[in-house]
Amino acid sequence: MALRNRIFSTDHRTIARQYFFLSLIAVIFGVVLSILMRFHLVYPAAQVKWFEWLWPVKASGGVMTPELYLSLMTLHGTIMVFFVLTLAPLNAFGNLVLPQQLGATQMAFPRLNMLSFWTTVVSFLLLIASFTCQDGGPLSGWTAYPPLSALGAIAGPGQGLGQTLWFFSIGVFCIAATLTSINFIATVIELRDPAMRMMQMPLPCWNWFVTAILSLLSFPVLLAAGILILLDRLAGTGFFLPSGGGSPLLWQHLFWFFGHPEVYIAILPGMGIVSHIVSVFSRRPIFGYRAMVYSTIAIAVLGLLVWGHHMFISGLSPYSAIAFSVLTMAIGAPSAVKTLNWIATLWGSRPELNTAMLFCLGFVSIFVTGGLSGLFLGQPQIDAYFHDTYFVVAHFHMIMGIAALFGIFAATFYWFPLMFGRKLNERLGKLHFYLTFILAYGTFVPMHFAGFAGNPRRYADFTTFEFLAPVLPLQKGITHSAFTLAAVQVIFLANLFWSMRRGEVIVWTGDTETWQRSHTPTR
């Protein structure tokens, strides 16, 4: 009975920990995939014994086939976007902290909360199952553009059952995400302390609230698109197939109407967390609270209107491209407001530079670096050159991957006592931060230069192109940096599992909102 209560728990903190560990498993899986990809990119002919042991057909002789590379890429993208960047900042830390910061004891619908978690687990298992299919895992990328993804097995290896399972996984995830957003929105509106007005909510709550609204508006659209494409695949309709009178571009519109808000679903909670931690450890209230709230809302509203900037080279009308471009540039304004406010909060303060705070500063730095390359990509003319190059890979890994991950790290270090009643080790944490910070820049900044040189992305092997010969040493450097970056994360894992059992039993002071109300965390 006790075990059942622990597994099928309706308690928001237990569910938060479940989400946390689910995304921890997912991120380990995703990182391993990316390591394999980076290895294959620079040593495509290397014969590795255990590749053959893992994939007897897809890597016979120990050499990865291009299809295997593409399915690794698809799984890496899908796992990271859905199961790490969506789950960890919103579902894990949102569930953990939101009720407590609002002065509630529970989420609005605890059983629905449990249902969303287990639906997410089903989605994750479906995704893993898709990878182990006989004819190869899905290889359409996380965007799964038709027509190839809509045709079925006839389109080539990996487009059969693997791709179908992938779509089912994403459909199930959409349902889970919608249920979660319903819960978050109802919690913020209904279970807020009666004495707390909306404009008095802590900033993380605001950001989770806005993120939940974005989820609510975007995931159902992806679900609709997924139903249509599954009908194309399984029932023979032609919604996205030119041969059936349909249009592949229609998928891109529906997908990116979800896909772009998804970027903000990943990053907005991180912004809220950073605002909170920066203000706590600068020992002063955040500068420009109202501006922070309004800029969050502005980013969300604009984020819903700019999906077309992913389609500049898809044959979009130049007129609509201009509209999308201008709106995209406009996101720079609220983003700048946020950056300014973080710096203004820090300005002249005597910040306590612990690991959580360091990760926040790292977040601001990487957010700016990654955001600036977005200004290039937001212009149709420049995007025409950059779109299929490593410049885009560098951009979204910086802004969506590493920046959001730094937000997750900051939250982990800050709210770890709330999860396990103990603190993470500071010394190991700082070591982990500095190495991660340097190596993250070392991995992703050189990718911009590869993009300048026209290095195409999503290619399994570019060592044979003569014009890319000068880029190859750079790519090798990126691979080595990425390997070290991944290895450094072992410090974090060791810290996590060690501190869970043996960490210092202490909580922060200074942030009364969360801690005064917190109950003794259950272990």
């Binding site: 819960n183 302390d193 900033l203 995931f219 519109h253 203000s279 609270y289 009364t512």
Partner: protein, 221 residues
């Protein structure tokens, strides 16, 4: 200090801020929620939840409808006009009547007339089920006339939209039948009455959604 400190905690009179909102009153004549005040199943939370749920449904249907708009604008060669089977009009009428019955029942319950509530709610439930069966008959009739999922884009969208609506109806019927189950045993306490109101609201939403879909099929597509 607006962001970090609770306004009440700044008060110097020493009164601690209310840590938790008033526990939702789920009990009083109701067997399920009496001793669990912190489940969060308060009445207004349920209403907010269902309204937010409706927003999600609206987004799904907007996506499907906008796909239909785009698809129709692409080329006209394989967009054959669909002749709607006449049973759809009967279904529409029945759905409206079921909505009326359910709302009459809801109002009767508010005045404490439980016996009459049971009659009207049962009528609404049966008509809702009848609507679902009618939809299946309509799909059968369309298929017999050659309007299948594949081949004709108009009928493909018709099927997808009506299936999506039917899936919602099935979900709503679960709620409606749950109320029916409780009502027939006269076990509708205050928490059960939240079920009544919430499922009635969702049922009306599906009614309006169906009228909108019918208007699109009849006047536009």
């Amino acid at each position: 200090m607006a962001t970090l400190t609770h306004p009440d905690s700044l008060k110097s009179d020493g009164a601690p801020p209310p840590f938790f909102p008033e526990p939702p009153t789920g009990g009083g004549g109701d067997d399920s929620d009496r001793n669990r005040p912190e489940r969060g199943n308060s009445r207004s939370a349920a209403f907010i939840g269902i309204v937010v749920m409706m927003c999600a449904s609206v987004m799904t249907f907007s996506a499907l409808l906008s796909a239909m708009v785009v698809r129709r604008g692409l080329n006209g060669t394989d967009w054959h006009h669909l002749t709607l089977p006449s049973i759809l009009w009967w279904n529409t009428g029945i759905l409206i009547l079921s909505s009326v019955a359910i709302d009459v029942a809801r109002r009767l319950l508010r005045r404490g007339r439980r016996q009459e509530f049971n009659y009207w709610w049962t009528a609404g439930t049966l008509m809702g089920t009848w609507f679902l069966i009618g939809q299946i008959v309509a799909w059968k009739q369309l298929a017999e006339h050659g309007f299948t999922l594949i081949g004709n884009q108009h009928s493909a969208f018709f099927y997808v939209l009506t299936w999506a609506h039917a899936a919602h109806v099935v979900g709503a019927l679960v709620g409606v039948f749950y109320v029916e189950y409780r009502a027939l045993r006269f076990r509708l306490g205050p928490a059960g009455r939240t079920w009544v109101d919430v499922s009635a609201l969702f049922w009306h939403f599906l009614d309006v959604l169906w009228l909108f879909l019918m208007a699109i099929f009849v006047f536009w597509a």
